[in-house]
Amino acid sequence: MSMINKIEFKLLSPQMVKKLSVVEIVKAELYDNDGFPMEGGVMDPRLGVIDPGLRCRTCNQTIGQCYGHFGNIELVRPIIHVLYAKLVHKILKSICGSCSRHIGTAKKCSYCGAEQKDVKFEKPYSYNEGEKILTPLQIRERFERIPQEDLPNFNFLGGRPEWLILTIFPIPPVITRPSITLETGERSEDDLTHKLVDIIRINHRLRENIEIGAPDFIIEDLWELLQYHTATYFDNELAGIPAARHRSGRPLKTLADRLRSKEGRFRQNLAGKRVNYSARTVISPDPYISINEVGVPLVIAKELTIPVAVTPNNIEEIKKVIQISPRWPSANYIVRPDGKRRKITDENKEEILKEVGIGYSIERHLQNGDVVLFNRQPSLHRMSIMAHRVRVTPWRTFTMNLAVTPPYNADFDGDEMNLHVLQTEEARAEAMMLMDASKHIRSPRFGGPIIGCEHDHVSGNYTLTMEGTEMNREDAFRILAEIGVEPDLPEKKTFTGKELFSHILPKGLNMSFKIKSMKPGCEKCTAETCKHDSFVVIENGVLKKGVIDKNAIGREAGKIIDRIQREFGDEAAHIFIDRVSLLGIKWFEKVGFTVGLDDVDISDESKKKIKLELEHGDRTSNELIETYAKGNIELLPGRTMKESFEANMIKLLVKVTDNIGSIVSAGLGFNGAIIMARSGARGSITHMTQLIGCVGQERVLGERIQRGFRGRTLSHFLVGDLTPLAHGFVSNSFKSGLTPVEFFFDVLSGREGLMDKSLRTRHSGYLERRLMNALQDLKIEYDGTVRDNNKIIIQFVPGEDFIDPHKSDWGTIDVNSIIRSVK
């Protein structure tokens, strides 16, 4: 395959324009009365074909083969190329006004001694020298006189400066501006064609007027108009002149607009491209498939194909595959050695079977085990596109394991995801080796596992491994069998949850760590001797002590996953995640797990305590308001009296809510909601406090709610009311119900969160784009340095120690664990 090695940018010379041109355009009309393109018009047939079936008058090729041909028009008077207008000014300023030598900023020409006048540039394309207007004609004359040896002084290397002043104007081929035929049979021309017609028309009128010797002002007006039309032909978003508009009032989309901005050629069609062999649909969860699998609906599997070459080794199989068409798994097309594709249908499959031979290839359906790429937008990091193995399902949605949702940041409330089928062997090999989901358990962002258990997986394992969980032999046997572990159970009647859990741990795993939720009030960790089962000890793959919670297996935290990946490799970690997530679910299937309203019930005694605490808060806040009224508040450094008061008030109210929080967590029983909060599966103790105790202070912009009416937040309060209630303190709980005023304040701070989120995603998106553009060329070279695309060294040792965070242990190498392991 031929490669492009470099792309050189230069100016287009008038000679070149002439050479490229196949026809000079002279007529402003597009079509004659019969509807055929006019010769010498902008749609001249020699400029290429756009209609299927016709042949190009210039190259005698059909549509698809003919790339089109340029035409040209001779401009009666020279015109400034707007895109270079600023540059023209720069050159004008640095050359002598009379001899055109490069003199820089000198006041007097050192070659001819002429005094220099200042040239002023008026956007977008006018120039004045002193009082006099500089016409493009004069500018061109000056530029023509610039000697070739002076050009390097301006760094002007792409051609001659006078080429920036147009005398001959290229007409782009018709295929760059195809016309479309509307349903009514009417032809609708491209914006560029409209603009070209304008240019030709004005050019024509200018010529006529010059020929008949019209007064100067008319000629100047027309010249100016021609300048306007050529300017807007290049760029229709110029500052200082009105945009050229379509008859309907819509601004025309001219050359620069085609390239520029997000919808322009560069970002829309060059930096990103649409692809074939892809599918998109809604996703659903499926705990029974592995993390590196994806469930593909049958209808999609029958549409997406993989090319397979027919060889002597597989010709019989391929014939069988064709035979079963149109059922799955068959093939959609056969490709003849000459590249012709033919669809396999029920009718022609016998015929195709006879025809197929070595050298042919087929496009077969997607089958179980094929490697595909799976992606969810926004693709914020490389784990947003990973390789999965196909599992064809009879459903209508893509299905995926729940544990693999964190890297995609996916949920199942209607999210859609994309699937790309790899077409070549190299691509498949690379995807399997580098992009497989199991190879991305550890995130390069922080060097820890990003794939891990979610929700029920965590709470399921939590309840399973709790002290006192027991089951009989049959249950233990069944659960192990269901999660795909060989049930190798010792002769025993009952089994503890910890014993069951130990079955999925690899032999030889030794570790110990603190769990996420230690018992409240447990201040000093007693490590191995913890009485509350809050310290996990694993010895040789056996869970000796401790409860499994989010810290052990959760996403972005899982210590056990982390260690298994580190010591036993990607595959072991992958299997562990599959099993541990299924174990949690299977355990819940047996014992059941539910959350209800009575989970947020609390004893009357605790209720009384909460009430007392609220009353106490009321009293102290009133005292604070009184001291403030007297002006006795101790000033915080750098704050006014009012600010100090507010800070004190917030401190006081936060303390009240904190106290209520501890009352609540002390008075909690043991139920579904608590299990979720404790194990880190979902929710937190703060949420429980808000449900049971009191919602607390609502905030807007980090302060108590201050805005609304003059001097008060709502008309329910007196002007100047400083009480907690009047500024958004919600003393009710979500269960006891909010008063209308409280509800209003709650919504107020809720809305702030929504606004914040939607406003800042834009900012962070742009930050990402800029960061990516700045850093995308940096890569690690064979010599181990980080270099940019100019081969300038950015870092001599990547990351200062050469450790790839993706392969590291939270950014380092854990020396201590190695030492422990050799003991």
Binding site: P637, D788, I793, H806, I813, I818
Partner: protein, 384 residues
């Protein structure tokens, strides 16, 4: 490479920090010589396995690793209330500010550490007071444009002046130096200023605000000062930053004193310090948002790119992205027309050496597995 078995061999292999850590750990452990050898082999093996591979698109990973959490930042923006701190810009806006390499941060701030001998509350207070900038307006009770005499009159508050320990004569001398083209008079607690030439009322009003804004005491642009006690002792937090002047003061631990103005750091302490400052500020911002788990290496790379040229370059159109070698890459980012027109005049040549350019022309990207070709050609089976 042969087997690494001894500490000396390990020293050759490992980066300094990691080696020191390993040495320390090995020393503390009660391993036998044989076990030690085993451990060294394992450490060396793990290190080699953990190394970057050639072709790794480290830049892209760093960019992703920094911007992916920044989308989460949005949801976690809650201010710390009740803290007796100087309010500084944090969160996403601060991150944008750092990467933009703005001339001055929206809230310049300093953290000033004190020498051990000055590490008491009284001394800290004293320094804090002495560095707070006092403007003429701060110590004036009233000021007005005297239309009768066409001059500006400022009445000073003696109490405040005594509080700030400002001596009238010194102050007036200084003001006379600052306002050379004006006539300055002082009578009692009144200071009058008048242009040498005749002036309009408008000019006088302008002069009044300029006069009130003139610096009379403390360190310029230090607006507000708070002292705090931390584990390391007393520190002074300021709003406003003036690193050069603060470092000159007695009693200040110049080794630890920080400012969040990166350009100032570059000017006063040089580009390497600015690089460290970028890293510090980014990590601080991330940490404040609860995203401290982002690996430092990513931040280091961004800081290195920004400072590699000896000056601080912004991440963006006027910085790194705007000065790239490839025309197509620049045109792709922002200001497409500008880059294309310039390229044509300067006869630029895009040699298609990095990522986007090759994406554009449908060629294999020279990174990762696209960086190499197979040189070896297997001999084909001879046809018989």
């Amino acid at each position: 490479m042969g087997e690494v078995e001894t500490l000396e061999q390990l020293k050759e292999l490992l980066p300094e920090k990691l080696f020191e850590k390993s040495k320390e750990a090995l020393k503390k452990s009660d391993l036998t010589e044989g076990q030690k050898k085993k451990a060294i082999i394992k450490i060396a093996d793990l290190y080699v396995k953990s190394k970057f591979e050639a072709g790794e698109a480290f830049g892209v990973i760093a960019a992703q690793s920094l911007s992916e959490p920044s989308t989460q930042m949005t949801m976690r923006t809650y201010h710390m209330a009740g803290a007796m701190q100087i309010q500084v810009t944090l969160g996403l806006p601060r991150l944008v500010e750092i990467f933009d390499a703005r001339r001055a941060p929206s809230t310049p701030a300093m953290t000033i550490y004190l020498k051990p001998s000055y590490n008491t509350r009284e001394k800290a207070m004293e320094i804090a007071e002495s560095i707070t900038e006092v403007k003429l307006g701060n110590i004036a009770t009233s000021s007005f444009v005297d239309l009768g005499n066409m001059q500006v009159e400022v009445v000073l508050d003696e109490k405040l002046m005594r509080k700030h320990k400002i001596k009238e004569e010194e102050m007036v001398e200084q003001l006379k130096l600052d306002f050379k083209n004006y006539v300055l008079h002082q009578r009692g607690n009144k200071v009058t200023i008048k242009p040498k030439d005749d002036a309009t009322v408008k000019e006088l009003q302008k002069l009044r605000s300029k006069f009130l804004d003139s610096h009379v005491h403390g360190v310029k642009s230090i607006e507000n000062v708070v002292i705090n006690q931390k584990d390391e002792g007393w520190i002074i937090n300021t709003l406003g930053s003036n690193l050069a002047k603060i470092l000159e003061l007695d009693g200040i631990d110049s080794a630890r004193t920080l400012t969040n103005n990166i350009h100032e750091v570059a000017k006063v302490l040089g580009i390497e310090a600015a690089r460290a400052s970028i890293v510090n500020e980014v990590l601080l911002t991330l940490k404040e948002q609860g995203l401290e788990d982002v690996d430092v290496r990513h931040v280091l790379l961004v800081a290195d790119v920004m400072t590699a040229g000896g000056t601080i370059k912004a991440v963006g159109r006027y910085g790194i992205a705007g000065t790239k070698g490839s025309v197509l890459a620049r045109a792709n980012f922002e200001e497409t027309m500008k880059h294309l027109t310039k390229a044509s005049v300067y006869n630029e040549i895009d040699t298609l050496e990095s990522i986007v350019e090759n994406v554009m022309i449908n060629q294999v990207v020279p990174a990762g597995t696209g960086m190499f070709d197979i040189v070896f050609k297997p001999p084909l089976k001879k046809k018989e």
